[in-house]
Each structure stands twice: as C-alpha cells, then as structure tokens.
C-alpha cells in the first residue's frame, strides 16, 4: 500500500508538469490564436491569407509531426538546442494557436451582423466595436469550443513525453519499467488525465453560465463612455 501511494504521488508530480506545460502553451497559443482569428476575418488579403494557410496546414498534419518539426527543425534552423520543456511549449503553442485561431474566427463571425452595425450606427470606433460589443458576445460563444481545445491540449501534451520531457505519460512509462506493472501505471495515468479533463469541462460549464446574461453576467454600465453615442 505504501508503494502504491508513493507511485501515485510520483505520477501526480508529473501531472503537475503536464499542467504547467498546458498552462503556459495554452496561454501563449490562445494569444497567438486570437491574433490569427482576427487576421482570418481581416479584409486585407495580406493579413488574411497567411493566417488561413497557417491554420489549415497545422490542422491538416499530425500533432506528432509538428512536435518533431520543432524538435529537429529549431536546432537546425536557429542553431540553438531547446530544452525538452521548451520544445514542448513551442510545439503545443503552435498547435494551440491554429485551433484557437479557428475558434476565435468562428465565434466572432457567429455574433449577429446587426451588433456591429448597431455599434457603428452609435458612432463607436473599430476598437470599441470589437472589444466592447463583439468580443464579449463572441467569448461566450467560444467557451464550449475552448473547453474542448483545453482538453485536447492536455491530451496532446502526452506526446511531449516522446521527445523526452517527463510529463505524466512519460512518467507512467518509466514507472511501468520500474514496477513491471504497465497496467497499473497506465491506468493511474489515465485516471489522472480523466480528472483533469473532467475539471476543465466543469469549469467550462460554470464559465459559460457566468457569461450568459440571464445567469448573472455583469451587464454593461449604461454610463460607460464607450457606449454613449458621440458626434451629436
């Protein structure tokens, strides 16, 4: 029993690395994805096409292949050797950007056209229209897909173990070699992954509820200067 607790604690420690990897690459990927999402709906072809090509290509190749690209390619192209963690961070952020880019594009386009027309009619500038009218509504639409993205990110992070970073899956592999009990080791890892995913989907459901106006989202203040018509 002591051995079991020790092993479980070891895997939980590795799960911490999985979470750190996902948190950092998730934040970086979402930031890059946000830019890609805006570029994809831009009217300027010089902005739109690179983003569309990037999103299509990254989504059209295996995540594992992209990881190897970063793993073998970055040292060759830039002449620097990356730490395994950093290789994982870069590749997961690149993948995440493609997926969130598509999510942001879809969510922004799902906001009814009348909303931006109304904002323009009220005299709001482009930035205020985007950040105060479109995005708050788009974010709510994006939450379910965003939850799915985060769960996929956690699952994809298992591939970082292949290039040598000891995250949860790699730790389970090492443990199974030590204890000669692959079934136990991988089942424990599976249970931890399951609870991480479960937690993410619960938080996602809560967030979606919070962002829905009739369930207590913060209503825009009427005296908000950006929402006051100008030019009269």
């Amino acid at each position: 029993m002591d051995a079991f607790i020790e092993q479980a604690l070891g895997l939980l420690g590795a799960a911490g690395w999985t979470l750190l990897l996902c948190l950092t690459s998730g934040v970086a990927g979402t930031a890059f994805g946000f830019v890609l999402g805006l570029m994809q709906i831009s009217k300027n072809p010089a902005l739109r096409w690179p983003a569309v090509v990037y999103v299509t290509v990254v989504r059209g190749i295996p995540v594992l292949l992209l990881i190897f690209f970063v793993y073998f390619g970055v040292p060759l192209l830039l002449g620097v050797n990356l730490e395994p963690f950093f290789t994982g961070f870069v590749s997961l952020a690149l993948v995440g950007a493609a997926y969130t880019g598509e999510i942001f594009r879809g969510a922004i386009q799902a906001v009814p056209r009348g909303q931006s027309e109304a904002a323009t009619a009220l005299g709001l500038n482009a930035a205020d229209t985007m950040f105060r009218v479109i995005l708050p509504q788009a974010l709510r639409i994006a939450v379910p897909a965003g939850t799915g993205f985060l769960i996929n990110l956690v699952k994809d992070s298992s591939l970082i173990g292949i290039i040598g970073f000891v995250e949860l899956t790699r730790a389970a592999k090492i443990l199974s070699n030590l204890t000669l009990d692959p079934l136990g080791a991988f089942l424990m890892a599976a249970v931890i992954y399951f609870f991480i995913s479960f937690a993410i989907s619960r938080v996602g459901a809560l967030l979606e509820r919070r962002l829905t106006p009739q369930f207590g989202a913060r209503k825009p203040r009427v005296d908000d200067p950006a929402l006051t018509p100008t030019g009269h």
Partner: protein
Amino acid sequence: MNLYFGDILPYMGQLLTALGVSLGITVASFVIGGVLSIAVYAGKASSIKLLSLLCTGYIGLFRNTPLLVQIYLIYFGLPVFGINLDVFQASLIALSLNNASYCAEIVRGGFNSVPRGLVEAGEALGLDRWTVFTRVTLTPALRAVYPSLVNQFVHLFLTSSLASIIGLPELMHAILEINSQTYRSIEVLAIGALLYFASGFLISLIARVGERFLFRWAVNV
C-alpha cells in the same frame, strides 16, 4: 543551412508504402469503430441502467484520456492478462476503440436528428423492425452527420501517426526511420507533412463528391 531533397528521393517508395499502411489501418479502425459506435450508442440509449452506465463510462473514459495512454494500456497492459498482441493488432484495437467513442457521440447527434414521426410512419407502413432501423432511421441519421464523420475520419488518419510509437510501420514511423538514416530532418518531415496534408485534403474532397452519390435520393443535397 541549405535544404536538399535529393537524399529523400530513394525513399519515396518506402514513404508511399507507409502511407498505404496508414490509410489501411485508418479505414479498418474507422469501419470497426464505426460499427462499434452504433452498438455503444444503442447501449447508452438503452433503458437497462447498467448497460447505459457502462457505455456512458466507456465514451467518457476514451474521450478524456490521451490516445497514447490508450495505446500503451493495450500494448503493454493487456499482456498482464496473458493477452499478447502484436503491434498491428494493438494499434488496430486502440484506434478502433478510440474512434468508437468519438463516433458514438456523432452517431447520437445523427439519431436525435431523425424525427420520431418518421419511425412511426415506417412502422405504420408495415416495415419490419430491421428495415425501419436501417432504411428509416440509420440512413437519414448518417446523412445528417456525414460531414462530421468525414472530419472524424481525417482526424483518425492524422492520429494514427501515434501507432508509430509502438512500432507500426506506418507513415510517421517511416519518416522517423528515414530521418535517422539520412539526417535530412527538415526535408523528410516536410515531405511527410505534405503527404499527410494532401491525403487528408484528398479524402475530404472525395468524401464531398461521394456525398452526392451516396445520398442522391435526398431532395436537397
């Protein structure tokens, strides 16, 4: 650095053979998983509590854990019970089970989209239960979720690359092997990426043409 693709040319045959293996295992696990997913959906929707719970648990477990862990569990874990699988069997089972859990959710959406009245009409016409299921429920349900199924197929094709980790000689495996023989990492990875991307693109294209043929009876295709 300079790129040189010449070193890869002698290996093109190997890459294309490996692509064939990738496509083969994708088709096989998609068909097996697809049939299984209908059974899983039926189990989940069944009124037998235990069966419904088991199927719900299966879907939840396989959708919320990494495919790599599932492959490891089946390849390294099952021999504990005396079930020794070779690389091909383990990959096929892992990909099929994984695909079934995703397809079950897609299939659920499809069946939910078929109006109850359609089934009642079928029964009223005196069709037997099997015919009602295959012709009145299943076919329109598949048609409704056809695009999602195509996406899932392409997704399965891309994730089948994980089978390379336990040594299945498919495309990703061939890419890594050629990489270690030629040290032309970027070149071989680029060609591999192109093969994956082009195949996925072609599959979607063929599927879109196939849709017109498969569902040509439908009024508004």
